[in-house]
């Protein structure tokens, strides 16, 4: 008898960190499996998190596969389930099922330079790839990270990014001028254009608001990145996570199974219904 895919495992919230305050607050959760029978995951995969009585949400796993003690999730407060998650405390138990979806082809990227471009909470889905690349430092080329938010308060993982500066080029940005901000002022795509990372032997990985992704891709192409060297992730409303409920269906794909990771070459082939 195979395991019932709808039945979640139980996860205990081991740590909660406030990343971004305000109406669209972001908190980072470290969740460890209650009975130790968790699952392994690959970069880019997601998990369904349950708050019983409220529902389930598909969230990308923000920790790297080599981190085994817990799974990390950075969650923005947007609706019923995420608001309930934001009300939880350390020690509270949630449901976790997964891992779902495809993965970033990180093994194919050995020896290549990696350019990460994130906006807002969109740093979370690409975070495990950044961590993996830095963890196996010798296997990959140069790592650069472009990351921006509306204001400096909207940036998450700030301490981690600062620590990372020795190992990677970190290019932060905020949308508008603010006191004490020494880095780039402007939108993320402009920062990318400004720093002009070289497309030679490089892969660009981007995630963020749809409008940001659109212009990032445009700018990357101007810089000479080809469609199959640009990767992004998409999201759609999901319920089952296992390719049955039909909600995330786009073209022949079910994003929960065939996505969320797409090369721009592949994504272009899908109807723009995400």
């Amino acid at each position: 008898m195979s395991h019932n895919a709808y039945l979640p495992k139980l996860g205990r919230i081991a740590a909660i960190k406030d990343e971004v305050p305000g109406n669209r607050a972001i908190k980072t959760y470290q969740i460890e499996f209650v009975s130790g029978d968790g699952f392994e995951h690959d970069c880019g995969q997601c998990a369904m998190i349950s708050v019983f009585g409220k529902g389930e949400s598909m969230i990308s796993i923000a920790s790297a596969p080599h981190v085994t003690g817990y799974k990390q999730f950075s969650i923005m407060k947007t609706g019923r389930v995420t608001t309930a998650l934001h009300d939880l405390n350390v020690g509270d138990i949630v449901g976790v099922r997964g891992p779902y979806g495809n993965k970033f082809p990180v093994k194919d990227w050995k020896g290549k330079n990696l350019v990460f471009i994130g906006g807002g909470v969109g740093l979370a889905p690409i975070w495990p790839v950044i961590q993996t690349a830095l963890h196996h430092k010798g296997s990959y080329g140069k790592v650069s990270v472009f990351y921006g938010g509306r204001t400096s308060r909207d940036l998450m993982y700030k301490a981690d990014l600062d620590k990372m500066r020795e190992q990677a080029d970190i290019h932060l940005s905020v949308d508008a001028k603010e006191d004490g901000w020494k880095e780039f002022v402007g939108f993320v795509p402009s920062n990318v254009k400004d720093k002009a990372p070289s497309p030679d032997n490089a892969i660009a990985i981007t995630c963020g608001p749809p409008i940001m992704i659109k212009f990032v891709i445009q700018n990357l192409k101007e810089l000479g990145f080809t469609d199959d060297n640009i990767y992004t992730t998409i999201e759609n409303k999901m319920k089952c996570g296992i390719g049955k409920c039909g909600r995330c269906n786009v073209g022949k794909d079910y994003v929960c199974v065939n996505g969320p990771v797409y090369s721009w070459a592949a994504l272009k082939e899908l109807p723009p219904e995400y």
């Binding site: 669209r24 407060k77 609706g79």
Partner: protein, 344 residues
């Protein structure tokens, strides 16, 4: 008899002169006997316009949809839209005007009288024809329909295959119209209004409950009754699963705290809630086009439910929905003589 050619000529002239953006009317459907609502935008397309007993749909719905669509596309064409309206359609438009859903000058009503007949009930027709499929239906004089089957054309008394609501109709001639086709017949000696409701009210309460409980059990919650109702224009309904009106400043808490009044499960209790909410929301607004009942794929007698309060509106409060666009609505008005003895 309705002069369909004259309706077409009028519609064509409107579009040729450009006095209207479009004409909402009917055309033949490939799906079966009944007509298909269609939005005619060019003068030449009007060649497909039809009118007959197969034109059952209430086109007031498409005025509501047109408004939504225009908002979506941010259309700035200020010309009115024309709509073909039977008596019941015109009553629906009147209610929408009364509720200020759109302005009178935004619509051009092409009224069509049902004269002595009405529209066909395909279920009655199927029973009448036994196993044969009707492929065409038309008016045949003032009191009959000409029905075409594989065996040829036959004339059937309209009263035998007409929709129940037409038999009980109290306003077969559109009161609200910029132009009207057909004559107003005052001697429609068909059924007594509210006959079906009154008949059901005579039943024992427990039997009525068994009857409705069965209907609520059978409901699929496909929401066709809601979708087809011109009065169900709320942007968001209590049965919808999420909040539709999401603005940039809508907070997560607002979305999270949205009350789930009715569960999605097609249980008796939840479906009862759904239909009751709709019936109450239609009080004084339902103009008895009976589209809800017609579209129900499992034949839930929704007209019976929704006309119950219409009967009350008419008989207790002397209120006739769709008769006066300037009158206050049933539930936004009161009289000193309203019933009071039911209150302790």
């Amino acid at each position: 008899m309705i002069d369909v050619a004259a309706i077409k000529a009028h519609a064509k002239a409107l579009l040729e002169k450009g006095t209207v953006r479009a004409v909402i009317g009917y055309r033949n459907s490939t799906a079966g006997l009944l007509a298909e609502p269609f939005v005619f935008t060019g003068p030449e397309s009007v060649d497909d316009l039809i009118y007959g007993p197969s034109c059952v749909q209430n086109l007031a719905l498409y005025l509501v949809n047109d408004k939504k669509e225009r908002a979506h596309h941010k259309s700035d064409d200020a010309r009115p839209v024309a709509v073909v309206a039977k008596g019941c359609d015109a009553r629906a438009i009147t209610v929408l005007l009364q509720e200020k859903h759109f302005l009178r000058e935004a619509i051009h009503v092409i009224g069509v009288s049902c004269e002595g007949t009405g529209v066909v009930d395909t279920k009655k027709l199927a029973r009448k024809l036994g196993g044969k499929h009707a492929v065409e239906i038309d008016f045949d004089g003032g009191e009959a329909f000409a029905v075409t089957t594989a065996d040829g054309v036959q004339s059937l008394p309209a009263a035998e295959i007409m929709a129940e609501r037409c038999l009980e109709c109290r306003g077969a001639h559109p009161q609200l119209a910029d132009i009207a086709f057909g004559e107003a017949k005052t001697d429609r000696a068909l059924h007594t209004p509210f006959q079906a409701v009154k008949h059901k009210m005579k039943e024992e309460q427990d039997n009525r409950w068994s009857f409705w409980a069965r209907q609520f059990d059978r409901c699929l919650r496909c929401y066709a009754c809601r979708s087809v109702c011109p009065m169900c224009y709320c942007e968001e309904c209590v049965v919808d699963s999420i909040q539709f009106a999401v603005l940039p400043d809508t907070t997560a808490e607002e979305k999270a705290n949205r009350i789930k009044w009715i569960e999605r499960s097609p249980n008796r209790s939840e479906s009862a809630m759904y239909h009751m909410v709709r019936a109450i929301h239609l009080a004084g607004r339902c103009i008895d086009c009976a589209e809800c009942e017609r579209v129900c794929p499992v034949n839930i007698p929704l007209r019976l439910l929704n006309t119950r309060l219409e009967m009350e509106a008419f008989e207790t409060f002397d209120y006739n929905p769709g008769s006066d666009m300037n009158a206050p609505t049933l539930t936004s008005s009161f009289k000193d003589t309203d019933p009071n003895s039911f209150i302790r």
